[in-house]
Amino acid sequence: MATEAELELQRLGTEYKYGFRDPEQYVFKSRKGLDREVVEQISWMKNEPDWMRQFRLKALEYFLKRPLPTWGADLSELDFDEIHYYVKPTERQGRSWEEVPEYIKQTFERLGIPEAERKFLAGVGAQYESEVVYHSLREDLERQGVIFVDMDTAVREYPDLVKRYFGTIVPPNDNKFAALNSAVWSGGSFVYVPEGVRVEIPLQAYFRINAENMGQFERTLIIVEPGGYVHYVEGCTAPIYSTASLHSAVVEIIVKEGARCRYTTIQNWSKNVYNLVTKRAAAYRDATMEWVDGNLGSKVTMKYPAVWLMEPGARGEVLSVAFASDGQHQDAGGKMVHVAPYTSSQIISKSISKGTGRASYRGLVKVHRGAHHVRSNVVCDALLLDEQSRTDTYPYMEIEEEQVSIGHEATVSKVAEEQLFYLQSRGLSEAEAMSMIVNGFIEPITKELPLEYAVELNRLIQLEMEGSVG
């Protein structure tokens, strides 16, 4: 519940306030375009073991072979030859903010990261372009054996764990963008929670793209051992350029017996970023995996967080909010794959479309043969803010078993004039009334967020709204 939210809402500007940019002062920037040489170069610069180099090269082949998806959002303007695939901003990573180059540190200060870290986070990773420039974890968690490092460090320092799980949940040939990520990945987080350890306050990673025509391809792997718990949060922003940047991440999560993982995203890319992300988790016996996904920014987002329910008692949940305003296409949803009997899942999707913005729900519930006594429920609600905006729903079901209980509900509504008038007659401006209605609409999801993120989400929606009403 965001009780302090409205207080925050009152101090607002009207622009995308994360649109500022730093001059480029990089250690290394790969030339535009992608081929074997660029991939070799990335691997060489990272001084990687040979297995990883081979993994990348194989993935590159898959990427080049695979066609662009023909469904979902329009990707025809995305030019793979115009992108820098690897940009290294600094030589080394800081463990304190003092060790981070001054201009990058200032960027993260403007984004409020060090402050959030002091106030309510157990650990922070900050990625700038292709590399993680800062990383920290509270000492007590370190002592308990929790690992929270960037993925490159993990390859070096925890080779056994990485080799065992990397690419097992999202194989390189899974889809074109997973293949791309596998070929050129850099940065991202590696999280390991030992058996029975509960990380009670969130770990956060923050991803920042600064350069123009930049591709960011972080790779995240989270392993929660039996009985463990972790809440991982990611945020992302970029400056506004007239040409497109590409963000294509892969996230793999393994939640073992009786463990629980929650993964929260507040995506607020500037409106020139293609955001094409593959997120997938495997949940084992009595484990719980929850994706909380807030998509506000980007030009195009295609993202369907997935849970494979591998053993009885596993539970998967996706809570998704998508806000598409002028010129944006948010194609978002979730995927639940019931492999084992006695598993359950829920997808709740709330989308808001404004102006020429288009928000689509795309989801899949699959129940394998033999996975009886499965329960699954899908609810997708769309809210249209004006006459022009549009929404679509693509709910796919592949049910191969009879003894299952599957629910699906979809609603489309418009902001009612009577609601606006009612709120305005109490002294709220049209923009305030509109954002209050929208925030109420997504409340079932914001109430699941820690207060700070609920406030942030409500605030971002308020910003979107101020631009829209005259």
Binding site: Y422, E432, M436, I437, G440, I442
Partner: protein, 262 residues
């Protein structure tokens, strides 16, 4: 006219309607500070329309006439600008806003109105607001849980009406219209709400009470009673007019009015 002599609220020759259909057809009304006016009239005569036009509902069109509040024509103002001047309408049919708690909504509303009326530094802190909200909930004998319930969602008819008066209590209007607030309240609730309204009333403000029943007027004593027929005020008098209507109904007025019109 000196400034002191300007009445708080004046309607002059108001013609208004919706989708080209005229509903208010030449309406005049003057209400001053310290006065309570009752407005009665058969279903469909235009009472709620009048309330909406005063509050600034965007779907209603004004064809002719003026509405002056403290001497200023408010017809060009948005509903929130009017609220910020101290106008308030308790709705006949309050709207539900899912997911928005009463407390969150009311804090934003109260503070935007307070800042506009009393000055930027007069906003209430979260703590002050909570205290005030608790006090007003108690006055209206409403459970504290209403603060965290979603605005009008799943409220019973009577709870909605009480919640409207709660909002009035927090917003401290100078001119309040109560559109059938008494309908749907049980006997005890009517008493509680009427006591609340009486406690809120002061010589500096004015109220227009729209009702079908004499009963509420025995609790909230009006100084003037008006009868509306077909978008016009056709009779005005003291409290005795309401009693007369209770006994005789509207037919005699309709007959008189039809005669006068022909």
């Amino acid at each position: 006219m000196t400034l002191e002599a300007t009445p708080l609220f004046t309607i002059e020759n108001l013609h208004a309607g919706i989708e080209g259909k005229e509903i208010l057809r030449g309406l005049d009304l003057v209400i001053d500070r310290g006065e309570i006016h009752a407005l009665m009239g058969p279903n469909g005569s235009g009472k709620s329309t009048l309330a909406y036009v005063i509050a600034g509902h965007p779907n209603y069109e004004v064809y002719e006439g003026r509405i002056l509040y403290k001497g200023e024509n408010i017809l060009e103002m948005t509903p929130d600008e009017r609220a910020k001047l101290g106008l308030f309408l308790a709705f006949q049919y309050p709207t539900a806003i899912p997911g928005v708690t009463m407390a969150n909504f009311l804090r934003l509303a109260v503070n935007s109105v307070r800042k506009a009326r009393y000055g930027e530094d007069k906003a209430l802190s979260p703590r002050e607001f909570r205290r005030l909200m608790r006090e007003k909930l108690a006055m209206l004998r409403m459970d504290e849980s209403f603060a965290t319930r979603y605005l009008n969602e799943g409220f019973s008819g009577g709870e909605k009406k009480r919640a409207e008066i709660l909002q009035m209590a927090l917003l401290e209007p100078e001119f309040a219209i109560l559109d059938e607030t008494d309908s749907g309240l049980d006997i005890d609730a009517l008493r509680t709400v009427a006591d609340g309204v009486n406690a809120l009333f002061n010589p500096n403000m004015a109220m227009l009470i729209i009702t079908h029943y004499q009963r509420v007027l025995s609790y909230i004593k009006p100084h003037f009673v008006h009868v509306m027929l077909d978008g016009k005020i056709v009779a005005s008098g003291g409290p005795e007019l309401a009693e007369e209507l209770e006994v005789k109904g509207y037919d005699w007025l309709k007959a008189e009015f039809a005669e006068a019109a022909s």
